[in-house]
Symmetry: C2
Subunit: 241 residues, 2 copies
């Protein structure tokens, strides 16, 4: 990723242009990547024989490329290996918004839709890097201390990747927004924040004596926002991306 990332934007087309509420649309790499890197889970849409599928899965970003995890047995993978068009979406729900009329009930959220052509990762070197990244992107440097993957496991693991061709971010972050005349009404309105947080880590009950939690997991502490832990981990592992 070049130094110019903060200035770069994804191109817009009829595919990714935010149609409704133009003021909520963003296309710059910084905004798009920040929303992506705050999540472990995405939803991937793909088409088989005209039938759309929407599959939740785990993913990560490398520059302007997205990787996600599949199984060689999965429907998705069998059909995406030859370069299928997909849409990968990440959404964060930030609040419920209760307004003074039904029409203005809403929610604060941040979402990204990314479009591209998916390919099965078959290059040996790229796959070896993906096997490590799918762990270390979330838990920096963790792979080095694990029982190493064997050939059978690597064979049974499949990764799909796509270069982001177009992407858009859509953000609503304004809480209650009523029609001006409705503020004169004796009706209760509020914003209810929604946060996705980490609970207290639960060590495996079968740990060997003396095996301690590594300091590299300190970012995953009770009460922390999941997205903060994920973003910190990302920048520890990929400081230049």
């Amino acid at each position: 990723m070049s130094d110019g990332e903060n200035l770069a934007s994804y191109p817009t087309s009829s595919r990714n242009q935010v149609k409704r509420r133009h003021d909520r649309g963003f296309y710059d790499h910084e905004t798009v990547h920040r929303i992506l890197d705050a999540s472990m889970m995405c939803h991937v849409s793909y088409v088989i024989d005209g039938q759309p599928y929407c599959t939740p899965t785990f993913f990560w970003r490398e520059g302007t490329r997205l990787y996600w995890h599949g199984s060689s047995a999965s429907r998705m993978l069998r059909n995406q290996s030859s370069g299928q068009r997909v849409c990968l979406t990440v959404a964060h729900l930030d609040s419920l918004v209760l307004a003074r009329c039904g029409f203005n009930h809403s929610a604060d959220y941040r979402a990204v839709m990314a479009f591209g052509t998916a390919y099965l990762v078959t290059d040996v070197e790229e796959k070896e890097r993906a096997v490590i990244a799918m762990v270390d992107r979330f838990f920096p440097d963790r792979t080095a201390g694990l029982r190493q993957s064997n050939t059978q496991e690597i064979k049974a693991t499949s990764f799909i990747a796509m270069e982001i061709e177009e992407a858009s971010a859509k953000i609503r972050a304004k809480g209650v927004a009523d029609d001006e005349e409705d503020y004169e009404l004796p009706i209760y309105a509020e914003r209810i924040p929604v946060r996705t947080v980490l609970g207290a880590p639960e060590p495996c009950s079968r740990l060997l004596p003396g095996v301690m939690r590594p300091e590299t997991l300190n970012g995953y502490s009770e009460g922390r926002l999941l997205e903060d832990a994920l973003r910190d981990a990302y920048f520890l592992q990929y400081p230049t991306r």
Copy 2:
């Protein structure tokens, strides 16, 4: 919904049969609906000219029918009004699972994929019910106390619905699950719970004097799981569904 709901299941086909990890698949109404009713947000996949789109939106269930909210200006709606096939997915992330090898790193989750043919809600009576349900499903009896929707607002609001033709739930809830021989290794493993919780409600700064929070919102209290608040609200509003 009949009294036999708990015994009913959605039919299976190549479309919704859980292909990978059969032990994680469920098709009964009770399991599928419980996962759906715990969420306000879903992701809907649809196809335009062979291009898949994955759109996050707000939805609710009525029996075996799903409704979601759109705008008459939205891409999705323009193309789904004539009965387009869609896949609507809800996923809850319950934990991050750190195992003793990369291959067994995982997550606990609950997800539903629901398949059907979407239609634009044009029937006047069905649309009037939807205008109320899109608020009251989440906030029981709230519409009665709001400034009522005007004709222009109802016209500008669009709903899409689909009868669930097939659906599957996929659940992983076992935390760390390593290969038996790996438990002998001096490697740290843990499960990190993930919870989506409500923050302290933030009353609108422009409330008129004396306007209090209605008791019907008591379920939305600081620190509560969003999914518990949503499920309770659902059963208050639809006790027989």
